[in-house]
């Protein structure tokens, strides 16, 4: 636990579904359902999974951008959910987020210099002169120019706007950055520059990342360890190479085989999953994956499998995976 910068324990987030005249709660969307993981300082944990599986909600709940239903999060050995607002404000500097769509997260009426220094102002860091200096340095650091601070967001390309989003997170000198699909909206040739930038910054500043994406090739490139989510749960979590070379969970196996490989000599047999992901407001009993699992047995339809360390450092939630 000493080296762990972030510890997430049994995190649960349900969203209420209201209806009727009285707008009573009629059901719950089980967006995040008992998720646990740890991240060491300087490490990158990738979270992958298909649309709606709860990746963003996991990130947002950890940052207290949305209140948790239950569970615990320790950051730097502090119990985040028990902190008062002034303590939380202090710790927010260390926890930053980068969004998928840098355009909607930047105020279009504000020059980007102001957007980038917003956090500094809110925390009363530096004089205006010093803040301008920090903004200029950070812009250069992310591959833009100091004079770009005077421009408006619409004057930048998608890749440049994502750099501005990164610059904004960096000015606070954070310890942990949650990057939620930071390159998904970018063209491939621009993606690679942003990925390289994130890599360099990590090395230079000792940053720790939670990297959320649905593109496994991108996640594999950047992550040390990877968690695979399905319908609100992490079904498998392992060091990158173990996950790719020896996937244990049937969902991970299908997911990996579904990804088209940019090499025509490697056309493969895909594991085709039937049907669709069930609704998070009405998840199936037992293993969440059993409705699509090609190898499910009776037990899978009744008992929920535990998320266990089946092999050293390699966690899986599946009845059919033997513990070694």
């Amino acid at each position: 636990m000493k080296n762990d910068l972030l510890v997430v324990e049994n995190l649960v987030k349900y969203f209420p579904i209201r209806g009727g005249i009285l707008q009573r709660v009629q059901n719950w969307v089980r967006a995040v359902d008992n998720v646990s993981f740890t991240i060491k300082k300087g490490e990158t944990l990738g979270l992958v999974g298909e649309s709606g599986c709860g990746k963003s909600t996991t990130g947002r709940t950890i940052l207290r951008l949305t209140p948790q239903t239950s569970g615990k999060v320790w950051f730097d050995n502090k119990d985040l959910f028990s902190l008062g607002s002034s303590e939380m404000k202090k710790i927010r500097r260390d926890l930053q987020i980068i969004f998928q769509d840098p355009y909607s997260s930047l105020d279009p009426r504000m020059i980007v210099g102001e957007s980038i220094s917003e956090g500094l102002r809110a925390h009363g860091i530096g004089t205006p002169q010093e803040r301008r200096q920090i903004v200029a340095e950070t812009l250069v650091r992310v591959g833009l120019r100091a004079e770009h601070a005077r421009r408006y967001p619409h004057e930048f390309s998608g890749g440049q706007r994502q750099r501005i989003g990164i610059a904004r997170a960096l000015t606070m000198k954070p310890k942990l950055i949650i990057a939620d699909e930071p390159v998904s909206a970018l063209d491939v040739s621009i993606q690679s520059t942003v990925l390289n930038l994130l890599d360099e910054l990590q090395e230079e500043m000792g940053l720790t990342y939670v990297f959320i994406a649905h593109d496994l090739s991108v996640v594999e490139h950047i992550s040390d360890r990877i968690g695979v989510m399905y319908l609100g749960k992490i079904v498998e979590l392992a060091p990158r190479d173990d996950l790719f070379n020896d996937p244990q969970h049937p969902y991970t196996q299908a997911l990996l085989s579904s990804i088209p490989i940019p090499n025509p000599h490697k056309r493969r047999k895909r594991i085709i999953l039937e049907g669709d992901v069930p609704s998070a407001s009405n998840p199936p009993p037992g293993c969440r994956f059993h409705t699509r699992c090609p190898v499910a047995v009776d037990r899978c339809r009744i008992d929920m499998p535990d998320f266990e360390e089946k092999i050293a450092g390699h966690f899986t939630a599946c009845h059919l995976v033997e513990k070694i």
Binding site: N196, E220, H221, A254, I259, I261, P262, N263, P264, E274
Partner: protein, 336 residues
């Protein structure tokens, strides 16, 4: 691995020649498609690949003649089964669009009618084009819905478009297009909005259909993985032009155009971790002001290394690099 079973039929199914489609905007003339040539043989899959805004969708919409104001096809010929589509009346074109050429669009919105349930809409296509009775049509529609991965298709077939997710709407449209059994299927980013496990279902389905019915496919994508898995041949587009064209193996093993090579080097490949990804400096040119030069020149490292001056002075034509491999780059000039 050509799936082409109709090699004996000589001519191409689709033959596009010197196509130019421009948009006349306030900013100026957008050279969206600027002299594009390609063909597709019966049973063949051609992939057009390129980054956002390079003219992929406009190319396919031009083939379908679905270019609206302020756009216009200003030059070129489009032969389908030997007939010039550009010479057809709108009425004749309508019949081609319904029967022989089907198109899966990037955005499904607008393709589904909000007042009919989805089963009805798929059945209607089947009834019209395959002369099925109402009952058989409905039954087949349910089969197609389940083929494209709509769960509980029997029940879901009575859902209305607003009651299904965007990903499901995309798949209903795919079911409508595939069930038509067209000679040519144009798929414009057919799976970009879908999750990978659903994408795998759809790609598998298109594959099977091609094997079974010898359908030709024009697939448009920015995903090199999909290109590698599906295509027989590949055309790479950059700024309104095809800059390289070759068989899929030749393209991935032996890419010639500096843009293609740089693009391939910049993508992370599952299971082949690179320390650092290559990047392409700069950005794509504005399609309004295009100098008479290689459109990739401002970003081209090869030009700098070889200190080539011609690249910025004159537009390179397509050179034959080897048999059936062409590249629009001055490096290959002596090979013409």
């Amino acid at each position: 691995m050509t799936k082409n079973k109709h090699k004996d039929k000589k001519g191409p199914l689709l033959d596009v020649k010197k196509l130019k489609t421009y948009f006349y905007t306030e900013e100026g003339v957008v050279h969206a498609v600027d002299g594009v040539d390609f063909h597709i043989m019966p049973g063949e899959t051609l992939a057009i690949v390129g980054e956002s805004g390079c003219g992929k969708s406009v190319t396919s919409l031009s083939v379908m003649q679905l270019i609206g104001q302020p756009g216009e096809i200003i030059e070129g010929e489009i032969f389908f089964n030997g007939e010039n589509l550009l010479a057809k009346s709108e009425y004749e074109m309508c019949k081609v669009r319904g029967n022989q050429i089907a198109m899966i669009f990037q955005q499904p919105s607008g393709c589904l009618n909000p007042v009919f349930d989805i089963g009805y809409q798929v059945a209607e296509v089947l009834e019209v084009h395959q002369a099925l009775g109402e009952e058989t049509g409905r039954k087949r529609a349910v089969e197609w819905l389940s083929k494209v991965g709509i769960p509980d298709a029997e029940k879901k077939s009575s859902a209305f478009p607003h009651e299904i997710s965007g990903g499901q709407a995309q798949r209903v449209m795919i079911a409508m297009m595939l069930s038509n059994l067209p000679d040519l299927l144009i798929a414009d980013e057919p799976t970009t909005a879908l999750d990978v496990t659903i994408q795998a279902q759809i790609l598998e389905l298109m594959d099977k259909m091609q094997d079974q019915f010898g359908t030709s496919i024009l697939v448009i994508t920015h995903d090199m993985g999909i290109v590698a898995e599906m295509a027989d041949r590949v055309a790479v587009m950059y700024a309104g032009q095809i800059v390289e064209q070759a068989s899929v193996f030749e393209l991935f093993d032996n890419s010639k155009h500096p843009y293609t090579t740089a693009l391939l080097a910049s993508i992370p490949i599952l299971g082949e971790r690179k320390e650092k990804l290559s990047t392409i400096p700069g950005s794509v040119p504005n399609l309004v002001d295009l100098p008479p030069a290689c459109r990739f020149a401002p970003r081209c490292q090869v030009r700098l290394e070889k200190q080539m001056t011609r690249c910025t002075e004159e537009m390179p034509p397509l050179f034959n690099v080897t048999d059936n491999h062409i590249a629009r780059c001055w490096v290959y000039e002596d090979k013409k």
